[in-house]
């Protein structure tokens, strides 16, 4: 009986430690983004790029903008919502486009915005 109880306790301790490790790793990955500036980069890019695309979209002129990111970024647009991420598995920062922009998905450290009638992001 005591042996069984001891083994049960050990398994629970291991589980306890695993849970603590999972919480700590989530904690670390979430907070490290805030403290190393990655979250700020995402927030800035989503707003800056989103506003720039919106501004270009209603200009009557032809426009070409070369936009360089501070580091490789993943930018996606689906249903006029711009999503910016720096890593594949992380929550994105979002910007709702004012205009209708064709869906796109880019992983690069730069992007090109072209307006000649329709707006195109590549």
């Amino acid at each position: 009986m005591n042996k069984k109880g001891g083994a049960q306790k050990t398994i629970l301790y291991i589980f306890y430690i695993l849970i603590a490790l999972v919480i700590l790793s989530i904690f670390y990955s979430r907070l490290s983004n805030y403290f190393n500036g990655a979250e700020m980069d995402k927030e800035f890019i989503s707003r800056d790029l989103g506003l720039m695309i919106d501004t270009a979209s209603f200009s009557p002129m032809s426009i070409i903008i070369n936009y360089n990111f501070p580091k490789e970024s993943i930018i996606e647009n689906k249903d006029s919502v711009l999503k910016v991420k720096l890593k594949l598995l992380e929550s994105p920062r979002e910007y709702l486009f004012l205009s209708e922009v064709e869906d796109f998905s880019i992983k690069s450290n730069k992007t090109k915005i072209e307006k000649n009638g329709e707006i195109r992001i590549s």
């Binding site: 109880g5 049960q8 306790k9 629970l12 589980f15 306890y16 849970i19 603590a20 919480i23 989530i26 904690f27 979430r30 907070l31 805030y34 403290f35 979250e39 700020m40 927030e43 800035f44 707003r47 506003l51 919106d54 501004t55 979209s57 209603f58 200009s59 009557p60 006029s80 709702l96 486009f97 004012l98 205009s99 209708e100």
Partner: protein, 151 residues
């Protein structure tokens, strides 16, 4: 299978620790979170789009005429199509003694009276003197645009 009191105690303790951990992650995450305030820039871009985009109000024939708006485009359906936004927008057009109003996202535009609360709302009002093209006829008009955003 018999569940001992001790096992139950440990299960509850684990659940308790997980809840505390999750709450801490969210509280610390939200404390460290930052947002760039772009309300005034967004309002400026919305207003420019309304006036300068031929899909919104800008008058166009072979080209877009800056400073001229099309009377036929001043309707709720066209404005809803032209603006994809979650912000509240009120357009008030006055010309030749006539005044017309369009509200977009009424759940926010209804709260325009609460704009004095600057911590909760960002409200910006601008007036524009424009040429209104109404069936080839050009008349002076005044367009007042209010943008209402939750902070």
């Amino acid at each position: 299978m018999e569940i001992s009191k001790e096992s139950l105690y440990w299960v509850f303790q684990i659940i308790f620790i997980m809840v505390i951990g999750t709450v801490m992650i969210f509280i610390l995450g939200s404390l460290a979170d930052y947002h760039i305030d772009i309300n005034s820039v967004e309002s400026y871009i919305i207003r420019n789009k309304i006036i300068l985009d031929e899909n919104c109000l800008a008058y166009s024939d072979s080209r877009v005429h800056m400073g001229s708006i099309d009377r036929d485009k001043f309707n709720e359906i066209n404005m809803m199509d032209c603006l994809n936004t979650d912000k509240g927008i009120i357009l008030n057009l006055t010309y030749s003694g006539i005044s017309e109003k369009i509200s977009i996202n009424e759940d926010l535009t209804d709260k325009v009276e609460l704009c004095f609360d600057e911590e909760l709302f960002s409200c910006i009002r601008k007036e524009y003197n424009l040429i209104l093209v109404d069936k080839e006829e050009k008349v002076p008009s005044k367009l007042i645009i209010d943008t209402i955003t939750l902070r």
